[in-house]
């Protein structure tokens, strides 16, 4: 009897059980992502003096950021690159993902894993690979030189090279996101649309795209966020004329040690990417996307 009464205390409400399970992870993310992000927001209003943050409040960092033309150039360049890469990746990924999901048959698992796998090698080693192909002493240029031809100049330390590099790094995300969305899409709906007189392209825009729009948006976010914050690709593939905002940002935490200014740049970077994500999310109408509130 006594043990049974004691165990009655173990009868938690579903709400309590939910919180017991979800809170550790949520607190973890809050403590080590959201609080640090808030802390750099605070530091962005301070100033740095010989590698130390001094809590004197001012808007100086932002003034510097927005009045120095080079910073604005970096920001615009990063934004433009990110938008361009996302768009190209989007247009490229749709037919690829569609092909895998619809015609992949029993090979589609293999096909999709093969798209995702290269991502996991890590940024640096993947850039090593790209440099091996596209770099100044890479396969393409050395090949051209061996045949007495001039090197392709746009592959040598240009913004284009950096953009190709970013696309190389993150396109697996886009394809995978759209592919996973299409896996749950009932292709028979297309037949219904066609029987009711819709042409193929019409059926795509009226049925397929809206019902897979969330997956598409997720893919866009997964490509856009790292593309905008890129610092490594620009450094190793872009050269001096392709310096990205992220690259300059990381400088503030390296050689120059101007953490307050770096924090302000981080805040700007985060706000810009949040704003773009917000714009994308506004295009989502949960009810019309076939969202049921449950996975699967």
């Amino acid at each position: 009897m006594a043990t049974e009464i004691a165990s009655a205390r173990g009868q938690l409400s579903p709400e309590a059980r939910f919180l017991l399970l979800a809170l550790p992870g949520a607190l973890f993310v809050v403590t080590f992502l959201i609080l640090p992000m808030l802390s750099i927001l605070v530091f962005s209003f301070w100033r740095t003096e010989s590698y130390n943050l001094i809590p004197e409040w001012s808007l100086d960092n932002y003034v510097v950021l927005f009045t120095t033309p080079t910073y604005m150039t970096f920001l615009l360049r990063s934004l433009l690159t990110a938008v361009a890469v996302s768009m190209v990746a989007l247009i490229y990924s749709w037919p690829v993902a569609y092909f895998m999901a619809k015609y992949g048959g029993r090979y589609r698992l293999l096909l999709s894993l093969a798209v995702a796998a290269p991502f996991f090698t890590g940024v640096i080693l993947r850039i090593t690979g790209i440099q091996g192909i596209m770099g100044p002493v890479g396969l393409i240029n050395m090949g051209l030189m061996n045949f007495g031809l001039p090197p392709i100049s746009f592959l040598m330390y240009t913004p284009t090279a950096a953009a190709i590099g970013i696309a190389y790094l993150f396109i697996p995300f886009m394809v995978t996101a759209i592919y996973l969305s299409l896996l749950n899409f009932d292709f028979e709906l297309l037949e219904v649309a066609k029987i009711n007189g819709a042409k193929a392209w019409r059926a795509f825009f009226e049925v397929t795209l809206p019902l897979n729009w969330i997956g598409t948006i997720i893919g866009l976010v997964l490509v856009f966020v790292p593309a905008l914050g890129d610092s490594i690709t620009a450094r190793f593939l872009g050269g001096p004329n392709a310096a990205s905002f992220g690259q300059v940002l990381s400088l503030q935490f390296g050689e120059t040690g101007t953490w307050a200014l770096g924090s302000a740049m981080g805040v700007v970077l985060f706000l810009v990417s949040s704003f773009v994500i917000f714009l994308m999310w506004r295009s989502v109408n949960l009810r019309r996307s076939g969202f049921t509130g449950r996975e699967g």
Binding site: E4, S7, A8, G10, Q11, S13
Partner: protein, 362 residues
Amino acid sequence: MADFVLELDRVTKRFGDVTAADDLSLQVAQGEFCALLGPSGSGKTTLLRIIAGLELPDSGRVLINGQDVTRLPPYARKVGMVFQNFLLFPHKTVAENVVFPLRMQGAPRERQKERLAWALKLLRLEGLEDRYPNQLSGGQQQRVALARGLIARPALLLLDEPLANLDRELRKEMEVEVRRYQVELTTPFIYVTHNQEEALTMSDRIAVMAKGRFEQVAPKLEVYTHPTSPFVAGFVGHSNKMSGRLTALDGSRARLDWQGVEIAVPSPARAGVGDRVDYFVKCEHMVLRSPNDPPEPELANRVPGVLRDVIFKGPNADYLARLDNGVELTVTDAVTMPSIRRDDPVHVAWAPEAGQCFAAAG
């Protein structure tokens, strides 16, 4: 000390605005087979989950063998349960599934073996011990679920639509079997179903539920023949519903103006002349007569119409008659009237007391 194995005392449970269990009280005695019958969303599964301890009621008490278990977690209640879709553990063999409750209770290995043999024999599962659930047929899975529910000699067994996913043939077979086990073991069964045939076939007593309330709790025959609410009258069995206003009230009989046709009905409680009432008559309590047949005094209601269709159902048939006021009545009768054809004029006749009359809601 306990007269009842299960007692529910004013159990109430709300989910947001929906009241799934509204002040429910019920007693179930040893050896009883009690069905909770209701349409989906009536709260019957919630009630079962409250008894099992899977939901906590907002108020009220649950007593098992006289002990208040309201706040006990499910694992301390020692009830058995058979779930919809069986819910066998897919990674455990038949034997491991069946013996699971005993292992959880920490029963000695000898006793586990002995009980397992007993349960496998009772449910004719010998030879299937080492199979996995996905290697079993629907009926076998069903019997494994029953064996698991019964092996630990639970105080009572809860069954949540256990036959809903079986095909018709198998369901008929299992209905008889489930009833047999219950009689053999005298363990009380609480059986949730939306299928009135199942409830009528197996149970001793039926609690009809709608919108979180008990509409009627009574022996099954009484529920069938003497429904005490318009919901039960409409839900159990197949009935014709006739709505209209009372035109006269005379002791136990009243007269109803049903869309222009005057019929005699038993006097409803709480309704006077001019009030709206609903009158339910089971289809098999009506008969078809030819217009030329002589009147029969006990079949006081006799209305003319035209036979519109006959739907054969084996030994019986449903005769659809369109009356002169345009309404259709369904009459279930033996297939003994080959002479009547579609579009023939017919009379539908029945005794007023064969049906129940209730004051219309609202």
